[in-house]
């Protein structure tokens, strides 16, 4: 690997002259400059990146914190998003730096203050996310994938969960269902609340009274879905469709229905949310809402770079439309 000393020797100049050619070419005569450039090409010399970063104060790294996921937990959307982000960042000369999530943003600030990263993409955001609050206060560049409730106070790219919920309701009513039920997360989750609100609005738009929609609230586990299905099917009036806020709950709903001898998709339709990789592999394959993760990643990177260029510009929230993937349920 060629060093700056090799280049200087080959060009017959001092090390400082090579440095000048790289960083302040005006100070070097055209003749000398050409000689140094030839030596750089011949030796395939690459200036030390740390040194360049030191001067530019840019690391070209984008920090992403990941929560610890237990061995049986599934985080398919986030894993695929991180893949997509790595691809899209590389197209713009950036790489993704992963680090373990800690709640309040202290690790983020330390990584930024030490110039290890140029800023952050926050995933798995929550309402009033303490990381977003801390980074915004310190004027650290960041973009969230997902909203935090503080719209307008930071850059965000999100998938429009309200529109996704509406699309699910429209599809169910168009296919003749009149007694839909919905299995939601506990109240207070921004993502969950928007998906449910969209579903109820979609019902109303299609002529089904939202107050007739039975809404159960459950945590995000397969067993919670099983329990919800059994509750709904053992009630006095069975629904003719069950929509829900995640594919994981949908897996449980399908299983709970099967335990009572009902196959999803015929008498009772089931619709999930996320189009996680397992959705297409279920039996029967799950109808669900797909998030355009590549496009989210592309826009997150573009928004981040725009923020670096213009630290004081207004914050922007971009919303992308999800799409319904109709399979067998």
């Amino acid at each position: 690997m060629a060093t700056i000393i090799d280049v200087a020797a080959r060009a017959g100049v001092s090390r400082q002259t090579v440095s000048n050619v790289l960083n302040a070419p005006d100070r070097v005569s055209p003749d000398t400059r050409r000689r140094v450039e030839d030596a750089i090409t011949t030796l395939n010399y690459r200036p030390n990146r740390s040194a360049q970063n030191f001067r530019a104060q840019r690391s070209h790294l984008l920090g992403v914190d990941l929560a610890t996921v237990g061995p049986h937990e599934v985080a398919p959307v986030l894993d695929r998003f991180v893949h997509a982000l790595s691809q899209q960042a590389a197209r713009r000369g950036y790489h993704v730096l992963l680090f373990p999530r800690s709640g309040d943003g202290a690790v983020h600030l330390s990584l930024y203050e030490t110039r290890t990263v140029d800023g952050f993409v926050l995933v798995d955001t929550e309402r009033d996310d303490p990381r977003a609050t801390a980074l915004a206060e310190q004027r650290v560049p960041f973009v969230t994938f997902g909203r935090t409730g503080a719209t307008g106070e930071h850059d965000a790219v999100d998938v429009d969960g309200f529109a996704g919920g509406q699309a699910v309701a429209a599809e169910l009513v168009a296919s003749g269902r009149r007694r839909p039920a919905y299995v939601a997360w506990p109240e207070g989750s921004l993502v969950g609340d928007l998906r449910l609100a969209g579903f109820l609005a979609g019902c109303e738009d299609a002529g089904v009274d939202p107050s007739d929609v039975r809404v159960l609230r459950r945590l995000n586990g397969v067993e919670d879905g099983v329990d919800a299905a059994v509750t709904l099917l053992e009630g006095s009036e069975r629904p003719d469709a069950i929509a829900t806020v995640s594919d994981l709950i949908a897996v449980g709903i399908i299983r709970g229905m099967r335990s009572l001898g009902v196959r999803a998709g015929n008498e009772i339709r089931v619709v999930g949310f996320d189009d996680s990789p397992l959705a297409a592999h279920l039996d029967p394959p799950l109808t669900t809402v797909r998030q355009p993760l590549d496009e989210v990643a592309r826009r997150v990177v573009a928004r981040f770079l725009a923020r670096l260029e213009d630290p004081d510009g207004p914050s922007v929230t971009e919303l992308l439309e999800p799409c319904l993937v109709v399979r067998r349920t």
Copy 2:
């Protein structure tokens, strides 16, 4: 954020003196040193990381390339490994830098030559992996998760797939099965060949003639598993157990069996490999082999740091035992 200039001003010394306290404390009188250190503490000054890295020639970043995963593909083991690696690296002062996989190692070399990373962890390795060959030739520090066939030529940490296959066979025979079948990947995959060889050896150890084990070879898709199950169940002598090389194929086997009215686990047992997050959520929950990913990640990081300290030491391959997780199939 305090700068070196703030520290110098507060301590009443020159910027160079502050720098000396940080980098060559012997050159500074104890008194002055104490004054500067007090100023550093009071102002919470943190030396610029890029500058430190420039001197140390260490980035404290570990590069990991990720293959593009299609929206319906499942890479649960790798995603969980990257999570675990990020956690384990952080404990040793390292972070993970993700970049898109390109085949031959050219991107790796460029990231190393520019000092963007200190080396690599190669995942998803194959026999005679061209990345491993290129990095070994250039003496770039790296550790593979998985073997490449070039044992002894580079550091590797792997899960013992042969032992995993043996454990599956032992469990099946101990539970009274005498006619096991195996669905393998096409010949030539190091990982797949080891799992199959272990299974056949385990059968022999338990008193079942390996030449009586019917082995089908299929690609790694759910549909491939469906097809294999139908082939095996429509044959003249049905197996009483079907073991396979991945959970994804096992999902298909369970589905193919169900299409013929046979529920996995009773008449015919089914055993997967990987304990991917979906295994516990299948119906019935899948018996499978779990890879100890946290421990793999811990050892990969330790081995990498040992390699940085001792570039010329002998290469080491560490093998970890997987464990069988017996569920309902």
